[in-house]
Amino acid sequence: MSRYVTLKKSDADFLKYMWGTFSGTERALPIESLNPGTAQESITFEIKNLKEIKRPSDLFIFSCLIKWNYFFLLFIPLFYVGVKNYVFQRIFDPTSFGLAAAASLFLFAGLNIRNDVIDHVSGFDRIIKTAGKKPLLLGWTTADSANHISWILCVIAIALAVPVCIRQHEAVRVVGITLGLFLAGNFLNKNNYKFNHFSEFVLFLILGPALCSGYQVAMGSGVDTEILIFGAVWGVAVLFLLYIVQFSNLFETSQAGIKNTLTQMGFDRSKIFLMSWWSFFIVLWTVYHFLYASQFWLWFGTAILIFWSLPTFIQITSTHSPIGSDLIQVRKAGNRAFALMNGILVFELIWNIYTQIQGPL
């Protein structure tokens, strides 16, 4: 027999239940609602004894919380910046580079958890069910514990970033601009930063040009045109992933009244937009390779990318409903195209290292 408790947001105990601090032996699991207005008024919790919850290992819960599968969004630019500067022998401060890399990873992990906590407390995660395990909704941990972990990770990130800023003064400007963008993205928007026009642009800047130039500044090489162009290419690719997610949640987000690029375009136009965006990315990719890569990678890499993108375009075109299983297939196809692009890039970078060591063939 389940036990339920419904609390208004104005109730004295509301936050205790929301943060999971109301009991040491029980968890309050918010019930999903199909009525978008509900989360603004009250939340119904299912009260479960801790013994009833099948809790996986702490490591698994932690990996779910930090969303380790998205870490490649940092690893690829990190690898790129490292290789680029290794090839040109411009790694002047490897220690700062290492510290900046570690700081960004800790910060990314901390912010991912924070994002989940905010979604949980606002009730957003009861309306929009995204893919992947949600430790807070499943009761594996409390919002309070997750929040603590998030702060610890963010503090470690700051502690690691301070020596970088001391050693490389230019890094202060990059961190300052990034922080400003992040705060603007958070505070100028009603919803989560993932779901708004301005926030999409902020996400493009932070995970694209700002991240790439930040790594390069940290190693003492300053900012150059190549890194900014690569950052822009990467940012556009990251937004493609975001748009794929927005597409797969189009119906739910539209119902909840959330405004983002795809909900404003609607189902039919979103399909065209997704294909146009990825085509735009391929154009940028080609321009970047035309300017900074060898003829081989320009033609070979681009040809493979175009060829591999065709199934993605076909999948998007053949999607008939904003609610069926086609959406999962679109998401998979989009992720596959993105993964292949990463594969080509990594292979190209490894090839660059090899030719640097061996000398040109």
Partner: protein, 324 residues
């Protein structure tokens, strides 16, 4: 009280076949939704005129949706008789449905409560969105129960929500908290009713004699089908889609007919267990509603009766117990 309220104003006699079409349509219905409106209206002491209007409204909307639904699904039968689009013409079926919805707006706007008109229009939009979405997933045999829930929330639950909320709106009670509770109750009732209806397709508690595997054969994987197929391999799903009767369906679980049926029934039990949790949640909301009604200082006896009836609805809608 009869809910079949025809008036020359509603249905002009000079339109050929319209009244005979409605006669056929309204004759076989149980009028469950209008009964629910009456049950909720009783402790609120709505005027007979308002109560009649609400009952008429919900029956008109429901029957309009049936006229359109049968045509979309190409269903030959409705309540054991030829569907309107087959007996008359598809054009007349569409127009008759449209006409019912138009009359709803004419009648409601005459009542003068703009919030009620607005809410009812929203529900009709939801209903149509649900139909549209359902049509868009025909042939999708990998759809999940959660995705179908969203469609059913629009298509089926919207009318249950209306039945619960409209009497309060007619009374100009717009208490947000109360309406959130009623929304959640309506959603759960709609889901339970739809899931039970989907089980009929697999001949579970099928006292109505609904056609077996009708949904599946018309390319629509219903909630029970989605529940059963969630852990199936692609080849098993292919086999399921090709099932001509329940024997074929049991074969997916086990080549031995008896063992296959046993495994199938164990799936039904699992499905029931999932829905029992929804029933428990529904009862929690009824309890919440009871608290709200007490604060409204309504007649205690009729409020208690209402709570009792609302609590028993799950037996009627999900378990199809006739004695409730």
């Amino acid at each position: 009280m009869s809910v079949k309220i025809f008036s020359p104003q509603d249905f002009p006699a000079y339109l050929p076949k319209l009244n005979s079409l409605y006669d056929d349509l309204f004759a076989g219905g149980k009028g469950f939704r209008s009964k629910l409106v009456q049950i909720v209206s009783k402790p609120l002491k709505l005027s007979t005129e308002t109560e009649t209007l609400l009952c008429q409204t919900i029956e008109f909307i429901h029957n309009a949706s049936l006229l359109h639904d049968d045509l979309i699904d190409r269903s030959q039968l409705r309540r054991g008789k030829p569907a309107a689009w087959t007996k008359y013409t598809p054009e007349y079926a569409v127009l008759a449905g449209d006409y019912l919805l138009a009359r709803v707006m004419v009648n409601l706007s005459g009542h003068g409560n703009i919030k009620l008109v607005q809410y009812t229009s929203g529900i009709i939009s939801d209903l149509l969105e649900g139909e549209w979405l359902q049509d868009s997933v025909v042939g999708d045999f990998f759809i999940t129960v959660a995705q179908l829930d969203r469609i059913h929330n629009l298509k089926t639950a919207s009318l249950f929500k209306w039945c619960l909320k409209a009497p309060f709106i007619a009374l100009e009670n717009y208490d947000k908290e109360l309406h959130v509770i009623l929304d959640e109750m309506g959603t759960l009732l709609g889901q339970l009713f739809q899931r039970s209806d989907d089980l009929l397709d697999y001949d579970i508690r099928n006292d109505e004699g609904k056609v077996i595997l009708g949904d599946l054969k018309s390319g629509y994987l219903n909630s029970f089908g989605a529940f059963v197929s969630a852990k199936m391999s692609r080849s098993e799903i292919d086999q399921m889609v090709k099932s001509k009767d329940l024997s074929d369906f049991y074969f997916i679980f086990d080549p031995d007919q008896a063992a296959g049926k046993e495994k199938f029934l164990s799936k039904v039990n699992q499905f029931d267990a999932v829905n029992l949790q929804k029933i428990e949640l529904y009862h929690h909301y009824v309890q919440q509603l009871s608290g709200k009604l007490m604060l409204m200082k309504l007649d205690k006896t009729s409020t208690e009766q209402l709570v009792q009836i609302l609590n028993s609805l799950t037996d009627l809608l999900y378990f199809r117990k006739k004695s409730v």
